[in-house]
């Protein structure tokens, strides 16, 4: 672990999957079954992710930002959530979507360019639309948490964002509001070492977790490649939010094993030695080693997980490949509850043109 010398980091498993903090491991409220679920979710996430990268290469997705390497941070944190808790993702949280049982085909429509957002019924699913403007969603999470609190609901918001996102004014304003209003929100930063081509050292001069000092609530640094530690700190943060109305900033130290997105040429900036070093710290390998050493998984289980993962990936492919565009005429009803005259005129124009053109390729 690159930052092994860093005493501040929370870690339960070492890179070989050995328990380094038995007390913390003991304190986990996870049954064996849960531990297997964690592994399964990570494996599903990895497989879907790989499939999506492949789908993009084959032209089925326009662009795709892989999460590979960040499975433990995403799955561990998401697994800690209660059903009523609300997820505000950025654009890289397929692992969280997997845990939250989000319809991944609908999700991938975002990356195919067939719809924005990618989440069907965000309010019902407790999962916000994919948010592209970096850091902007941090404020939505705080607002939602304020609202839930006003309703006396015991629900928290968790917002995902990257290391680069901490440079934005919105991050600061969100944390400050959360501190002042004591809103039940968890700021979950996946520090994957890069913001496109900008390394953390050029992004900020302070450790991310320390930024919580500025807002009067706790900051925690966790080994983001350790799914148990990621779970544990998130769980603790959620408890603190629920019982003490105290927000938490979590810095999950992980690594972007893939390119920023499929459109990125990272050879220009990302040192291969660094990638290689992190390759050794693969979160799936680590957790599998742990489960095996604890005797919690057998080859049959691992096979089944592999099959499930492939099935899920295949179902994503089946759902998204070749999917037709949606009808722009319908979109005139998406903006507002009503369609005023000037808009109706435009809709009628496009409708007439489309009728004149006849059915498109792929529309059939």
């Amino acid at each position: 672990m690159e930052r092994a010398e860093d005493q501040t980091i929370v870690r339960i498993l070492d890179p070989e999957g050995r328990v380094v903090d038995p007390e913390a491991r003991q304190a986990l409220d996870l049954k064996e079954e849960d531990l297997r679920s964690l592994y399964r979710f990570m494996a599903l996430s990895r497989q879907v992710d790989l499939e999506c990268t492949a789908l993009q290469r084959q032209g089925e997705l326009a662009v795709y930002p892989p999460l590979i390497g960040q499975e433990a941070a995403q799955v561990g944190s998401a697994f800690a959530l209660g059903e009523e808790d609300f997820v505000f993702p950025s654009y890289r949280e397929v692992g969280v979507a997997v845990v939250r049982d989000i319809d991944l085909v609908e999700y991938m429509h975002f990356h195919r360019g067939t719809r924005h957002g990618g989440i069907d019924d965000p309010v019902g699913k407790r999962f916000g639309e994919i948010s592209v403007p970096v850091s902007s969603q941090t404020l939505h999470a705080v607002g939602w948490a304020m609202g839930a609190q006003k309703d006396g609901r015991n629900a928290c918001a968790i917002v995902y964002f990257g290391d680069g996102a901490t440079s934005q004014g919105d991050f600061h304003e969100a944390c400050n509001f959360a501190g002042v209003f004591r809103t039940p929100v968890v700021f979950f930063c996946q520090n994957n070492a890069w913001a496109i081509s900008v390394p953390l050292s050029k992004q900020t001069a302070a450790p991310i977790w320390r930024k919580a000092e500025a807002y009067g609530f706790p900051g925690v640094r966790v080994d983001g490649n350790d799914v148990l530690a990621s779970y544990a700190v998130t769980r603790e943060a959620l408890d603190r939010a629920r019982t003490e109305r105290t927000p938490t900033l979590i810095e999950a130290v992980t690594y972007r094993m893939g390119p920023h997105s499929t459109a990125d040429d990272r050879t220009r900036y990302q040192p291969t030695e660094e990638i290689d070093r992190w390759q050794e710290l693969d979160p799936l390998v680590r957790f599998r080693a742990f489960l095996q050493s604890e005797g919690m998984v057998d080859p049959e289980f691992l096979d089944r997980v592999e099959r499930d993962a492939k099935d899920l990936a295949a179902s994503v492919r089946a759902g998204i490949a070749g999917a037709p565009p949606r009808d722009i005429r319908e979109m005139f009803g998406w903006m507002w509850g009503d369609i005023p005259a000037h808009l109706a005129r435009q809709r009628d124009e496009v409708a007439a043109l489309m009728e004149a053109e006849g059915p498109e390729d792929g529309d059939a």
Binding site: G128, V142, M331, P340
Partner: protein, 324 residues
Amino acid sequence: MPEVTMAQAINQGLRRALTDDDRVLVFGEDIGKLGGVFRITDRLQEEFGEDRVFDTPLAESAILGVSIGLAMAGWKPVPEIQFDAFSYPALDQVISHVAKYRFRSAGTVSMPIVMRLPVGGAVGAAEHHSESPEVYYAHTAGLKVVIPSTPIDAFNLLLASIRDPDPVIYLEPKARYWSKEPGELEPNGLPIGAARVLREGAHGTLVTWGGMVPRCLAAAEAAAEDGVELEVLDLRCLVPLDLDRLIASARKTGRVVVVHEAPMTAGFGGEVVARVVEDAFEYLEAPVLRVTGYDLPYPPATVEEHYLPSVDRILLAVQRTLTF
């Protein structure tokens, strides 16, 4: 009949909305104990409690950003931004999310947010306190833009805005805050998107909104003394625009002058001209003209009357259309 100021009318509108709908929240900078720098939220915190009427930290992007989350949690946020120019730090949240969230969610998540914003000049204020930013909003698809010019309209359009399931930018012309109108503050069902003919006339139409309405009425009165009857159309809403009334008036008079405070270039006047030209071209007797603020940053207060459309400038433009 009792007289009310626009400031009182908006205050009453907020009170009404807070009373009738317990999902309404009012917040912003200094809107609690102080009652806002214009006292528009006077006593609301006292009456409805800090849970529903609250001060926020000094951060406009946050004010709009948390409004989005609150909307997703089922609330109806009615944030106040203190002055026109201080809405700019929130433009990203407004353009990228408030305006787009429903569209992004394929129509499933609406954003019933009403952003209240004092705008306009002619109040002797310092830099950044007299701007007319309506175009930034009107051009952003997904936002409705409302701007009343009288107390009764302000009251009713506020209620309509809060009723509306979609985001409304509710612009309050500061120069009109202390204007009075006799009338009852009782909901009259006025919808968003209806312009109002404030004065009828056959020889020309003045199209305007917000703080410029009284000047246009004054110009019309002055013109009437010379036998020129001007129609004055108060748009009241820029988006959606009341095309029917606008075009009807343009067709009727054949001469149209648009008057607004914002700079001319790419101002909303251009939209009005383009609509009139598209739908009333054959009725036009003269070019549709614009009388606007000049293409400068809003100037120091002591020269603002040279900057803003004056009755004289309006009449000169009318004259140009009459003698064309």
